[in-house]
């Protein structure tokens, strides 16, 4: 009984305030300080990072342009059925003319044309032509006839099906395009014909090259990190400077020097031809292809592998391997069973770092990748700055983001993220 009472009794401080409450009060002050310290960075990240990312996510499904440019058509076409074999009614064509008049005056209607052109080529031309002619059109008897008179395509049911499909506020068409799929006229999906597929194979290539690069950095970086962790501090400090040296030269300069080294008339080919290993008409193609991307990016990302490995190896006392050796393990067994398992944290950290950097890398593949060595980020950049198809760029970017997250979660499941040591 006595213990049961004691359990129910609330522990209080000397002046009778429950202990939990006064502790909370005491800790609140500390929390407030912590929040204030974090606040500036949090705001910065929110404005420059989180909001743009959210905006990008929205943009990949956003289709508000239909509502903006075709406010009346979007309303009228609601009653029209996709399966219908007849053109929409006269009221819809009336709305079309009115929307076009407004849009042509404000010179914004061509945007919608460009948007619809992503789905079906010829739409952009149709919209420009219609916008030009619509001004001269004055209250015709039949809006339908007048529009078909401007362009026959207004009498084509496929045009209307497209407008109907893309009349919603949101659209999945960017994602479909990003997966090399398209909507059929009846609203179902199908893959594009093989010669039009671009992005799936590009995603595969990006993942494959990123894995290759990660693997190469492990193979090349592991021995270096081991050396760094075993030599005297003075020597290792100097060697670390050498490892970091690439960081101090401009990325462009480094990438360009790879071009000088690897190209057909470059240093390496010249040497190989010079010493007779290759004949002059057999020079190796080492750049402007996948090999160029892999070589240059492995070099550039190597420090990101070496440093986490080094920091983990530094914590492994030499006595572990020695203990294993004294117990009868051969050098290889001691390495494989004792040393390597304890560096998994470093391999994981370096691997994730390099992989995530590689999968979104842009400059190097753009310069040395040619057509076969470019990665998904190069296409995202293309759609942002050249084709101006921001929706597709956003969809590709979102897929890339989800891909990285998925691999991160996979890593967590397999290796455990808590095992990761970055320094």
């Amino acid at each position: 009984m006595a213990t049961a009472e004691a359990e129910n009794e609330v522990i209080t401080t000397a002046d009778g305030v429950p202990l939990k409450e006064s502790l909370k009060k005491a800790l609140w002050q500390r929390k407030k300080t912590a929040l204030l310290l974090v606040a500036p960075l949090f705001l910065f990240v929110l404005i420059t990072f989180l909001i743009p990312i959210f905006d990008m996510l929205i943009r990949s499904v956003d289709n508000s342009i239909a509502g903006e440019q075709f406010p009346r058509v979007v309303v009228e076409i609601r009653d029209w059925d996709l399966d219908s074999t007849e053109l929409p009614d006269e009221a819809t064509f009336q709305a079309l003319i009115e929307d076009f008049k407004v849009g042509a005056e404000e010179k914004t209607i061509s945007r919608l044309g460009r948007r619809l052109n992503y789905e079906k080529s010829g739409m952009s031309g149709l919209f420009r032509k219609t916008a030009r002619k619509i001004e001269k059109l004055e209250s015709p008897e039949s809006a339908t006839a007048a529009m078909i008179d401007i362009d026959k395509k207004w009498g084509n049911i496929e045009t209307w099906r497209l407008i109907k499909r893309e009349s919603g506020k949101f659209s999945s068409s960017y994602y479909l395009a990003a997966f090399d799929a398209e909507k059929n006229s009846d609203g179902s999906f199908s893959m594009k014909s093989e010669d039009q597929q671009v992005y799936i194979s590009l995603f595969w290539r990006t993942i494959r090259l990123s894995f290759t690069i990660t693997f190469l950095t492990i193979i090349l970086g592991y021995p270096v990190a081991y050396l760094l962790s075993t030599v005297k501090t003075k020597t290792s400090n100097m060697l670390i400077i050498l490892v970091l040296l690439p960081f101090w030269t401009s990325l462009l300069v480094r990438t360009s020097s790879w071009i000088a080294l690897l190209q057909k008339e470059g240093v390496i080919n010249d040497i190989l031809v010079g010493i007779g290993i290759l004949s002059d008409d057999n020079r190796l193609a080492m750049i402007h292809n996948e090999a160029g991307t892999v070589i240059a990016m492995t070099h550039i990302l190597l420090p990101f592998m070496v440093l986490p490995l080094f920091s983990v190896m530094k914590t492994i006392p030499p006595s572990w391997v020695r203990a294993a050796r004294s117990m009868g393990a051969t050098p290889f067994t001691a390495f494989w069973r004792i040393y390597l398992p304890n560096t998994v944290a470093g391999i994981g950290a370096g691997g994730i770092l390099v992989f995530i950097l590689a999968i979104g890398y842009y400059i190097t593949p753009a310069l040395v990748g040619g057509t076969k060595g470019t990665l998904i980020s190069n296409f995202i950049a293309y759609h942002i700055s050249t084709s101006l198809n921001w929706g597709l760029a956003a969809a590709l970017g979102t897929i890339l983001l989800l891909l990285v997250l998925a691999l991160y979660i996979l890593y967590d499941k397999v290796v455990g993220i808590n095992n990761m040591k970055l320094g």
């Binding site: 006392p317 006595s319 572990w320 294993a324 050796r325 004294s326 117990m327 009868g328 050098p331 304890n342």
Partner: protein, 365 residues
């Protein structure tokens, strides 16, 4: 130790790391079968280097090490069959305790049931039976230490090396582990080479202690010999507490010498141990517990007047600091017996000692 065969022999071993100075200078040492030998010395004295050469992690620059009469300089560590306990235990953090213990058996391709049997036996030996499934990080320092000891023994090595294995433990635990390791080694009849810089640890555990300084074995003897009969000033000073006087030999009487303490403070009659002839300098060494306070006049050859500077009550004895013969750091341990001398700080007393207890040694520094 000549009646038992030596298991390990160091012959003319020299070791240099930088090619400029020798860390180990001409080491000759035999370790007998079943012996517990401790290498004792300050840091940088070369004791750990010797251990590493024996284990095979450092090559000897010159000389040869024999294990069971086979030269082992060219034998890699994993073929030497030597168990080793490291300073910070060197337990493998990614394996459980049982896996740690099984490791040396696995690399020997022992069959599973035999492995399990041996691991269980080793765990029982160090009273860690129920801890087999834990990770080393989940054990206390003392428990990790026991695992390290068990792991070094589980494959029945000919020889076990221990490199300051108790350095990371607190005092009580360290003492307890000293006894535990000593008992295990006695029960199993192990040959142990133990490295430490803690002299009380060396005295507690060893059959024989090799005192290292400056790359040289200063003295290699059983604990009681080392303590009672140090051969040079370094050993006298390094092992146990020690009162020192520096002076010059003024008379050589064969077994004893007369030494004039510096600054004309007085003349002491001492046992001639390690000192040159008349006119040579010498260090006199005297244990604090061998000093008599207020002896009968004439009963001892050395009686001097001293001033008690400081008294520290330690229960079983009273540690008293005197100024004697111009030295103000002369320590006397007065046993807390029924009729012990009662002194006061600042008071004077006669203190004396025999010539036998005062050893005339080499003039160190």
């Amino acid at each position: 130790m000549s009646d038992t065969p030596s298991l390990v022999r160091f012959v003319d071993i020299q070791k240099s790391y930088d090619g400029e100075s020798l860390v180990v200078k001409n080491l000759n040492l035999d370790v007998a079968q079943g012996e517990f030998l401790t290498m004792l010395g300050p840091s940088g004295s070369g004791k750990t280097t010797c251990l590493m050469m024996l284990a095979g992690f450092e090559p000897a620059t010159h000389g040869e090490i024999f294990l069971k009469d086979n030269p082992i300089n060219k034998v890699p560590p994993h073929k030497r069959g030597i168990g080793m306990v490291f300073q910070n235990y060197a337990l493998f953090p990614h394996m459980t305790v049982a896996e740690n213990l099984a490791f040396p058996l696995q690399v020997r391709n022992m069959d599973k049931s035999e492995q399990k049997q041996r691991v269980d036996r080793a765990l029982d030996m160090v009273q860690l039976g129920p801890f087999g499934d834990r990770r080393p990080a989940q054990l206390s320092g003392g428990q990790q230490q026991r695992v390290a000891v068990a792991r070094s023994l589980v494959f029945d090595p000919d020889l076990v090396l221990m490199d300051e294995p108790l350095g990371a433990l607190d005092k009580n635990l360290r003492e307890q582990m000293q006894y535990e390791i000593k008992h295990i080694s006695e029960n199993l009849g192990l040959t142990v080479v133990y490295v430490t810089h803690d002299q009380s640890e060396a005295l507690t555990m060893s059959n024989r202690i090799a005192v290292f300084d400056d790359g040289i074995i200063q003295q290699c003897a059983p604990p009681e010999v080392l303590y009672e009969e140090p051969e040079n000033a370094f050993c006298a000073n390094f092992i146990g507490e020690n009162n020192r006087f520096l002076g010059k030999v003024s008379e050589d009487n064969g077994d004893t010498v007369k030494v004039d303490v510096d600054n004309d403070a007085g003349t002491v009659i001492a046992k001639k141990v390690n000192v040159g002839g008349v006119g040579e300098r010498s260090t006199l060494s005297l244990r604090p517990e061998r000093v008599t306070v207020n002896p009968e006049p004439g009963s001892l050859p050395n009686i001097f007047n001293g001033v008690a500077e400081e008294l520290i009550y330690l229960g079983d004895h009273i540690r008293t600091r005197f100024t004697v013969l111009g030295h103000d750091d002369f320590i006397v341990k007065i046993p807390n017996s029924a009729d012990h001398a009662h002194l006061e700080e600042g008071g004077t007393a006669n203190i004396g000692w025999t010539a036998e207890d005062c050893r005339a040694l080499d003039p160190s520094d």
